[in-house]
């Protein structure tokens, strides 16, 4: 499966309610990437939200804070949540079905902390 096959699909909970669209796939690197680790990046869950542009520009989840105009416009009404992978049941052509209700999904916490940055 490719990452692009998950992105932008609509997420539907057990009650048939929409939780928004898949904005991203959160993975966890559980060790240094070297040839000795054959599964360093594991899929942890889906980031689901509503404002597509805000998502693409990285607001809401990364450490990007300013400028406030863009932030205020783009983050209005968009509170991305995380769907843990174990709740994902079916991946269809345009939708992803999950177990339980979308009301108990947690807010997605920001991910970037500046570590990935800056070569010397």
């Amino acid at each position: 499966m490719r990452l692009s096959e998950l992105l932008n699909k609509e997420v539907i909970d057990a009650n048939g309610q929409s939780a928004g669209h898949v904005h991203d796939v959160r993975v966890i690197q559980d060790g240094p990437i070297t040839s000795s680790f054959d599964a360093a990046l594991r899929v942890h869950g889906l980031i689901v939200g509503r404002g597509a542009l805000a998502n693409r520009l990285g607001y809401g989840r990364s450490a990007v804070r300013g400028p406030w105009v863009i932030r205020a416009v783009l983050e209005a009404g968009d509170k991305p949540t995380v769907v843990p992978w174990h709740r994902v049941r079916v991946i269809e052509a345009t939708r992803i079905l999950i177990t339980g209700s979308c009301d108990d999904l947690e807010r997605a916490r920001p991910v970037s902390d500046g570590r990935g940055a800056a070569r010397e």
């Binding site: 990452l3 796939v25 690197q29 060790g31 680790f37 940055a117």
Partner: protein
């Protein structure tokens, strides 16, 4: 063990690949994810894993979708028979994920840089001064 959280679309997709010699080697055009065996009925609660980064015009075209993307992908397959044009880079060959993604291999090992090779051989190398050192 400090686990690092990465949002794949934000931090992997469309990023620059740099090979082991510091040469630019394409962008991450998609990411290959392997689902656990028997998913979604896998009893042990195993998680999907990222197995490879994909790069190349064919991959990008498929991501575009629509008529433009399909036409582009079809054209790409025609001029590159027997391949989907994807330079598939196993995760084991990735050295560092930052504002660019550094690889442990040379770009010449990627099938996605065949066009570069073609233009090098048939056009650029034939112009005098092509091997002229920059500094």
């Amino acid at each position: 063990m400090n686990a690092r959280v990465i949002d794949a679309a934000l931090e992997l997709l469309d990023r620059q690949l740099i090979d082991r010699d510091g040469k630019l080697a394409g962008n991450v055009d998609d990411v290959e994810i392997a689902l656990p065996e028997n998913w979604p009925d896998n009893e042990r609660g195993e998680l999907p894993v990222v197995t490879a980064l994909l790069s190349g015009p064919g991959v990008l075209a498929e991501r575009f979708g629509g008529r433009l993307g399909r036409g582009w992908a079809a054209f790409y397959r025609r001029i590159h028979p027997g391949t989907d044009g994807s330079g598939s880079i196993p995760l084991a060959q990735v050295r560092d994920i930052g504002s660019a993604i550094r690889l442990a291999i040379s770009r010449d090992e990627l099938s996605s840089t065949r066009m570069e090779e073609w233009f090098r051989r048939h056009l650029i190398s034939k112009i005098p001064g092509a091997g002229h050192a920059p500094e």
